[in-house]
């Protein structure tokens, strides 16, 4: 029973494709792809709508106010209203803009964001696009985001846009390194770049109790944290929203965009967030695996969505809690702390592996990480680096 619920979507797709039985192979293939794309768009655009309103509501609760509550029950139709507003708004293009580039930027950024969703396994047998080097695909395609952001900044021919784009690229470049390197321990341990295999490697339970998710190993936990923080930066969200900090440079590279193009940017940002969270779930939180054996009756995609939702909640929570960081501190942090720590994770994972992945390995890798962490904290003691800040009040 539970199995059939688990595979409900897979069966549904097969049932749909069975209509095409007898057609040439490429027709079935194209149809299968189209179904996947359609489902992805349907699910994630809905999720986008949902999250956009949920974020506002959650933030509001955190700030002790109500949030949107006028449109629909509990304000749930707010995104629809927003969407309509966006669509009917005038699309303004600056006169001296590089029109082609200006137009292509949001297209590219949205396309890239959606493409990255394709390699994530959402449930048992539910990977839209199975590819040998799926993780590499994710990052290869994801790296085009930077180009898109640059195009937006350049194409607008506006100094705020350009500056915002520069900031965005600088921070994305800097954090892409820890982001990718913190994935490497997992790839190393599993021995594969395929997301399905990575999820499969996290099946089972130690002592029949603790799931074998990588987040439960010292190196995995460290890498998970590094990955999440880097992901936060990659999606330009608070507290790392320096490139589009409205109090500083209006809206960064999106300053000259309005209407639907702006909505596209907005959507791309959210979808990028989903993609990073989804990958984090896949890599560290056991993908669609249930956290306990008894709970395996609940379908795999539910678990995936629960984990994704939990991560998204944390993102929102962080946004509601932390103030914006300063750009130089951010860069220092990336190069002087995140990167060495990411490398340490690799070493720790190797230690864990060669200590036969048991309790001993667990402890040793913990020691490695703790030692490096302590050393870095001592070396990076910022008290010595920065002059004490002096506040000048009215004199």
């Amino acid at each position: 029973m539970s199995k059939s619920i688990d595979q409900a979507f897979v069966h549904a797709k097969q049932w749909l494709l069975s209509w095409l039985a007898g057609s040439p192979g490429w027709v079935v293939q194209v149809a299968s792809i189209l179904i996947n794309i359609f489902m992805l768009l349907a699910v994630f655009l809905t999720l986008f709508a949902l999250i956009s309103v949920l974020e506002r509501k959650i933030l509001a609760r955190m700030q002790n106010r109500y949030g949107p509550n006028r449109v629909g029950p509990f304000g749930l139709f707010q995104p629809i209203a927003d969407g309509i507003k966006m669509l009917i708004k005038e699309d303004i293009v600056p006169a001296r803009a590089d029109k082609i580039v200006h137009f292509l930027a949001p297209v590219l950024i949205a396309a890239v964001a959606i493409l990255t969703l394709g390699v994530i396994p959402y449930g048992r047998n539910m990977t839209p696009f199975t590819i040998d080097g799926g993780i590499l695909f994710f990052f290869a395609v994801g790296s085009a985001t930077e180009l898109a952001v640059f195009m937006a900044g350049w194409g607008s021919n506006n100094k705020f846009s350009m500056l915002g784009a520069m900031r965005a690229i600088a921070q994305m470049f800097s954090y892409e390194l820890p982001l990718i390197i913190s994935v490497l321990p997992v790839v190393m341990v599993v021995g594969s770049l395929t997301p399905d295999r990575i999820v499969a490697a996290q099946a089972g339970y130690t002592f029949g109790l603790v799931p074998r998710w990588f987040a439960f190993t010292p190196w995995g936990a460290a890498a998970f944290i590094l990955f999440s923080v880097s992901g936060l930066v990659e999606s330009n969200r608070t507290p790392f929203d320096v490139p589009e900090g409205e109090s500083e440079i209006v809206a960064g590279h999106m300053t000259e965009y309005s209407g639907f193009k702006y909505a596209t940017f907005f959507m791309a940002e959210y979808i990028g967030m989903f993609a990073v969270s989804g990958l984090a779930t896949t890599l560290f939180l056991g993908g669609w695996h249930a956290p306990a054996r008894i709970l395996e009756i609940i379908p795999s995609y539910v678990w995936f969505l629960v984990k994704l939702g939990a991560l998204l909640f944390v993102y929102i929570w962080v946004r509601g809690t932390l103030p914006r960081t300063r750009i130089d501190q951010m860069m220092n942090f990336a190069w002087k702390f995140m990167l060495p720590m990411a490398f340490t994770c690799i070493v720790a994972a190797a230690v864990w592996h060669y200590a036969s992945r048991g309790l001993r390995g667990w402890l040793w890798s913990l020691v490695v990480i703790a030692v490096v962490y302590t050393a870095l904290s001592i070396l990076l003691d910022t008290k010595r680096k920065f002059a004490p800040r002096v506040y000048r009040f009215a004199e």
Binding site: A144, E146, L147, L193
Partner: protein, 160 residues
């Protein structure tokens, strides 16, 4: 390996490449170059070298293209338009193309169809890199480090 895909990809790629070589606006040319690279990556996919294709996208679009646009940005004073076009270059390029095509076409042994080979998995590439190609790999690592440092030193502002 369908010829339809091949035709589409090659037209797409060559068009983008031509645009990259001839567009007057530097930024457009750079972006076209990125598009051409996507086409080449598609070629690699078509040829069954998925990993190389992904690496190409990753490195060229994620890094090189961004570097190029950055450079364009930093040398913006003349970046708007590229004045002057050297037609002798066109002649040489066409001649080279002609020569190459002529020799390719003339070589009959090249008109073969791809044999069936087992899929090239990432694992195999990894194993090759870590066994037979471990020295080149280390050398490339060293080279990249050197290039990184060298580039940094080159662009560093002289302290006054």
């Amino acid at each position: 390996m369908s010829s339809a895909a091949f035709v589409i990809i090659s037209i797409f790629t060559l068009a983008a490449a031509l645009a990259a070589a001839t567009l007057r606006k530097l930024m457009h040319a750079a972006l076209s170059f990125a598009v051409a690279l996507v086409g080449i990556a598609a070629f690699f996919f078509l040829l069954g070298a998925e990993f190389v294709g992904l690496a190409l996208v990753f490195i060229y679009i994620g890094a090189v293209a961004v570097l190029i646009v950055f450079t364009i940005l930093l040398t913006r004073r003349h970046a708007g338009k590229d004045r002057g076009f050297n037609w002798s270059g066109v002649a040489i390029a066409v001649a080279v193309f002609g020569g190459l095509t002529w020799s390719i076409v003339k070589t009959q042994s090249l008109s073969i169809v791809a044999p069936h080979v087992p899929a090239l998995t990432v694992k195999r590439i990894g194993q090759a890199l870590m066994t037979s190609y471990v020295w080149p790999l280390q050398c490339v690592g060293l080279l990249l480090t050197a290039a990184l440092i060298g580039a940094l030193v080159l662009v560093m502002e002289e302290k006054r």
